[in-house]
Subunit: 138 residues, 4 copies
């Protein structure tokens, strides 16, 4: 398993708080950017998945560790990977680093997603998505 | 026309930016709190309006003036009124003040809303809502 | 250890996403509301702590589990407790429930905070704060 | 005066609300992205301005008009210009369009900024910044 670069983000004023750092909840927004772009790089989009399959991948668990602060106007590089996919759930893993210093993690974390249909019932992840994601795993 | 108190909000860290003040976009969130509570105080809720009438009141224009900064942990008092209601649109007006000093505006503004159905077509505001809002006007 | 009610929040439109539920990052904002009000109920405020002691309690780890969705206009009751305080770090624990149904967790989680000074150096939590928090533990 | 493209943004789930559109306050975040990138394209950065000049450009007025909704995963192209600069204030103007259809405005707006020092006192915009911005005007 190895994380790969999937997106770059420039921190805006609105992402920071009065401590001068990115507010802790906003890293979960960055994680979402990473998921979207990871899927796109695997030839999928989450939008198309919802529209065509009528399925959703809501977050059932999220965890973040904050190692060093990101600041206003920093250019961040976001890394992602899928450490595991089971029948009806999958895990994304993330690392956020400053584009100028890719050796240092600012934040790391993961999210776990369940696959549900419109009625909120847990269902199996479609094979086509599963195999596309498995091919893209690091 | 006169603004009346509709809600109180405690500023959180996540609302501030590195200047130490509430980020300018977040006042529009406070304006939404004011709209929700204004409607509730008029015996309506926007949730019920959407659910029962199948109609929506999307924002077509928003304007805010920032007079003095709000800071972390400030308790804000939010005032609202409806200066006008037309056939298919309505205007909300807002003022945000510190609970400890109600004479000074921190921010003021307004939003204009169109009444649309599920297909996004502009339709007349139902008479029941219109008259409830007119009764509640300051 | 037992969680206690510390705050109530009304979900706004801006907290939801197109799935019709509260966006997962926004629960971390609710957790912050809970921390602020937990400290206030213990006779402290985080604002005063920063101002008087010149110290900060940045989040070094956050975790959330999403059990059931919260929706627009839901009134949420937020519970918090401090399961442990060490020399230079402390843990907050949270549960979010619908005010109308306090038996069911919508989301649960925790955050771990380090105590740092203005230079970002880790320092011991002042005894006065530590003992106030210990008295308030469930 | 003519708006020019300064940034591209991909709409995330966290930007949308339960109506399925981008929440109205989030366009003000996009406007900030546009300001940052407009300044960068003029050879300036707002971060450097704060750090070197010790000055700030807080928003004193913001206005947005919402013409058509932006949706999840849309790629947005953001246009900006500076219609006027006075001694101690300046105006930014914005238009947001879908990258796939640059003829249609989704949202337009403007912000007015005052130039203040650390004490919040209004001061003149430094000539160097003023002339850099004037050169960059459309």
């Amino acid at each position: 398993m190895s994380l790969r670069e999937v997106a770059r983000i420039r921190v805006i004023y609105g992402d920071t708080d009065q401590m001068g750092f990115v507010y802790y909840a906003n890293y979960l927004r960055y994680f979402e950017v990473a998921r979207n772009e990871y899927l796109r790089s695997a030839g999928q989009t989450y939008r198309a998945f919802e529209a065509s399959a009528g399925l959703f991948l809501p977050v059932v668990e999220a965890e973040a560790k904050y190692h060093r602060p990101a600041r206003y106007d920093d250019e961040l590089t976001i890394f992602a990977d899928i450490p595991w996919i089971k029948g009806a759930s999958a895990c994304f893993q993330y690392a956020i680093r400053r584009a100028e210093d890719l050796k240092v993690d600012l934040a790391t974390g993961h999210t776990i997603h369940a696959c549900v249909n419109k009625d909120g019932k847990i269902v199996r992840i479609p094979e086509a998505l599963k195999s596309a994601l498995q091919k893209s795993q690091g």
